[in-house]
Amino acid sequence: MISRFSINGIQKDFEYEPGITLLQLLRREGYFGAKYGGCSNGECGACAILLDGVPVNSCRILAAQAVGHLIETIEGIGKHPEQGWKKTEGLHPIQKAFIETGAIQCGYCTPAQVLAAKSLLERNINPTEEEIREALSGVLCRCTGYLKPIQAVMRAAAVLRGEPVPEIGEGSISVDDWSTSPKDVDHGKSTAETNGHAGVSTKVSPKVHITTKTREYHAVGKSEPKLDAVKLVQGKPAFTSDIELRGMLVGKILHSHVAHAKIRKIDTSKAKALKGVAAVLTWQDIPRVVYSTAGQSDPIPGPLDMFSLDSRVRFVGDRVAFVAAETNEIAEQALKLIDVEYEELPVVLDSSESMKEGTVRIHEEPEYVNFADSDPSKNLAAKIRIDIGDVDKGFSEADLIFEEDYEVQKVQQAHIEPHVAVSYWDEDDRLVIRTSTQVPFHARRILAPVLGLPMKRIRIIKPRVGGGFGGKQEILIEDAAAHLTIATGRPVLMEYTREEEFIAARSRHPMKIHLKTGVKRDGTITANEMYALSDTGAYGCHALTVTGNTGQKSMALYVGDGIYRKNPNIRFYADIVYTNHPPAGAFRGYGVPQGFWPVERQMEKIARALNIDPIEFRIKNAVRSGELHPFSTSWSEGREPRPEIIHTVGLEECIRQGKAVIGWDQKFNNPQWHTVEDKPYLRRGIGIATVMQGTAIPYLDMGGASIKLNDDGSFNLLVGATDLGTGSDTVLAQMAAEVVGVPTEDIICYSSDTDMTPFDVGAYASSTTYISGGAVVRAAEKVAEKLKERAAKMISEKDGVPCEKDQIKLADRKAIAPDGRCVSISEIAYNSLHHTDQEQIMAVASYVSPSSPPPFAAQFAEVTVDTQTGKVIVDNLVMAVDSGVIVNPVAATGQIEGGMSQALGYAVSEEMRYDEKGRSIDTNLIDYHIFRSNEMPGMEALFVETYEPSHPFGVKAVAEIPLDGVAPAVGNAVLDACNAEINTLPITPEKVYSALKKSRK
């Protein structure tokens, strides 16, 4: 068919097949701003465009249906204002507002959000917050928690109305003590009456309780716009699949439909005979190399138990064959033509059954490589036994023992950009893999033996990543694309569908946890013991380290008081077992949310049982600054542990400030506040959880950076660190700018490419700002030294008056002597590159930390519970965080807000469920519900700065800690509301109803 389409005001004739969707047509024709979210049901909305002025999901309509209608894509909205000699009208006010307010994180859903906002503001220039939330609700965002996009639309609306808007980026709202400010007490209006909708205040800059040790910086501490925001807001082809290579094939994976079986026979002849099929690979066609998909440093701290393709399948979704074909449709058809004869084996889905004698063994392959205590004969992927102090003595000294069983569910990362990789041979016969990964360097190392290539013949390029959250700390599909490129010699695009994300990607480890705590009647914890039974699924990727963190972080917070403070008694045992579920893996928080659910629920119950204020009880027993991290002498992610002092603990201040913002004192223990007028069946509750995380893995995580001076005084900053939407490129650039005395905009950051950028372990363990930042600062300091040296010479030679390099200060793009004489950085660059004793001023540095300074936080939740149906509405969330010095307050707040929204799903709605045959029940983002913009509770993040002495700018981690405390805070709030004891996540209406029924008996 040939039809005329009107796209962005231009008429274009396209030839196309009648079955092609509008999304397929647009992307084929280069409108890459419409993104593919892996679905064809419009669940995510990343593909939204405007059709006759209103947002519709382009994956849900045929291209032919759009003929005769006006199509608008992000490419038609606004452009970079300066394109050489050609000037444009610049970005649209909505695009500008998205950049200014920090509304863009990974940027994958940004074009759709901008278009939805445009549609709204063209019809209603003065929308309410609720109208904005509704307008954006068709587009899922897994990064931001929606607050900043809403703020962006409000700001854009004000601009379009001709109203003045306040500057952003001049720092945060610095308030020494806002706790007495009455406006903060009742900051949210979202209640049961509004069904949790809207009504929250939206402030762009967060409150920061600034550490007295912070000196005045020009770049660090400022809310600089994200470096990549301009391209992302225009929908530029920045993501992995936004390229078209000549002759590119589509790769697909045939997934097993049975949970456990040997492949007796596999016949690919019909598939191979299908026209348009370029290759079909089974386990018989490729080398059998055992490996782990976990993207971790060498040696992988876990068993090697995976093959690219195997003669046995271990879960529904496991790999059976790879296909490469000319089109997606042909590839799909070919998958159906592969005949597989399975010899089905018994299935184990219950982790409690997995280690029992007589249970079917999941890994029998002789190539299996153990790590530490893994034992495939017992279905044991990993085992942890940690004893600190004398736990049994501690229990014997306790007045009371509290013991409970808890359970946490399997949940999905649900990044909106699916797993995607493009592989091809370059002109040097090197294999290039362009992939959406958090760990490019680990990917290269792990893939080399799997593909039978020396590492030097593999290049990994990481473009922008559309969200990862740990899911892309996995070498998940890169090998499949690469095998197909090796087989065909042609480029291959391999992209997961949303269903594949659910059946064949990774998830958070579900666990069954037993917690036993001994306490004195005065509230002193004498001993604490946790046993975790963790279900790693069919493969042991991250099995040991995720579950290690479960105990290492959550059980470290409460050391006890008095004599127990110096010698805490803590036991953490765990068995991480194989089952026939899809494998678990890394997910933001990395085991810690699983640990804090039982710990924080138990602390609440103990405090209430002892009739002690739950907050006072926590503070009494929590670890304090200057104390030894209790686990540092016994655990370090499978490596040699070394003692580590915790230098900064801002927890008490976090509690104080968080209490003030949520209005704790006005609500807790106030019977009137707990009721709702005219609705006797509704009860309000308020809860707290205090949490800690880590910052990188000590003595292991390494970041590298190189900085190069350009003629004009700008710098190329090359980092192996992997910005997956968090804004780490920007934060690293800010640190470099701070040291070399230029504005952040003069730093051109590139990340990451194994050929171009220095090594970095990648984006995980909340390490980038701290570890990669350490490398950046070191490299920048070396460059600064060279700049000062040359500047001193230049200044001295100018008028013959000597100038010492040590007296030179770098600021405002200049090298300035104490007497005011100066040269610009650009003059230094010209001098060094063109005029005198020519040299390239550049430096490379790396950083490994001897410590993992923990961030701390107090998380609060307010809920309304329907005591007749069990329905829970989360009305407000507040989080006060000690993440050390905040380099970019707006970006950091975005991390907190986004993290809280993910954690909210963990608390109440998200759960990967399976039937009795191990088949996934939830395979889309409708059944698996992640929060939308029009149902978010009120949220506020605030920072309590401490100055971490182990980092040049005093920073600690921020990205993972928001995941830790929302669920227990909500659980504690439900308990506060109606005495419903929920020990199993998620907190569903049915569970609350059952708990209430039980408590009434």
Binding site: M1, E17, P18, G19, T21, S40, N41, G42, E43, G45, A48, V54, P55, V56, N57, C59, R60, I61, L62, A64, Q65, V67, A116, E134, A135, S137, G138, V139, N195, G196, H197, E329, E332, D866, Q868, T869, G870, K871, I873, V908, S909, I926, D927, H929, F931, R932, N934, E935, P986, T988, P989, E990, Y993, S994
Partner: protein, 258 residues
């Protein structure tokens, strides 16, 4: 696989196309389901130019064209508020802008609040060719197998009618675990529908105020809900929501359901 696309400009053209034996020819509403890859070669007939997207109310009858988008139901002030609410709870705003009421009738199941609402309103479905009609309840009872035509053109229900909607879900915008919809006409007729599982929503009661006293007959209800596949929790939640509608001030003219 879609091998042909047609966009007729009048109903006659559409009927002619849909009467073809080969290739298999099917109507295309919003586009949702048919945009997927399918095995069989099919032709699609896009109904967007037939003017079937009108909502009219006259002489105690409300008519809604089959191509009416769900979002149009949300934004329309002439139809009962409960119908708008059910449409809003059906799916997300972007999907509501393309999904049509005709498409919904063809595929929605017992989890669908809007299908439940249409059942509560006792809508009559108009089909072409042939101009035949069938009540939704009757059609669902036949498991949609004996459709009186190939193309739904519109639905209608009697007005004035008030509709109340309530549900329980894990979060405010999640799919309901259960929902209850009650429609009450000036004549005193009341229909109560609930849903949350299975092939179709369940008509709990249909009759006058006196005739529906069995709403409160827990045994009758438990049996019908169990048959429909509702869990014990769902049954309890449904009963709670119905109980609340009975005396609730501010609904049905301040009188509650009964």
């Amino acid at each position: 696989m879609i091998i042909e696309y047609h966009r007729p400009v009048n109903l006659e053209q559409a009927k002619k196309l849909l009467n073809r034996e080969t290739p298999m020819t099917v109507p295309l509403g919003g586009g949702t389901e048919l945009s997927k890859y399918t095995e069989k070669p099919i032709a699609v007939v896009d109904l967007q130019s037939l003017g079937l997207d009108k909502i009219t109310t006259a002489k105690n009858i409300c008519k809604i064209g089959s191509m009416t988008r769900l979002q149009d139901l949300v934004e329309n002030n002439e139809i009962p508020g409960g119908l708008s609410k059910a449409a809003r709870r059906e799916t997300t705003i972007n999907i509501r802008r393309t999904a049509t009421i005709g498409g919904l009738l063809m595929k929605a199941d017992g989890l669908s609040p809007l299908l439940g609402c249409l059942l509560a309103l006792d809508v009559k479905i108009h089909w072409e060719p042939g101009g035949k009609t069938i009540y939704l309840g009757e059609w669902l009872a036949k498991e949609r197998k004996k459709s009186p035509g190939k193309l739904i053109t519109e639905i209608e229900f009697t007005t004035p009618v008030e509709v109340e909607y309530d549900d329980v879900a894990r979060s405010p915008e999640d799919r309901p675990i259960v929902y209850v919809i009650a429609a009450k006409w000036e004549t005193g007729e009341i229909r109560v529908v609930y849903g949350g599982c299975g092939y179709a929503p369940v008509l709990g009661s249909d009759g006058s105020k006196n005739m529906i006293s069995d709403i409160f007959n827990r045994y009758t209800y438990a049996a019908s809900m169990e048959r429909a596949g509702f869990t014990e929790y769902q049954q309890s939640a449904i009963r709670t929501l119905i109980d609340r509608m009975v005396p609730q001030k501010g609904i049905f003219g301040g009188k509650g359901l009964l």
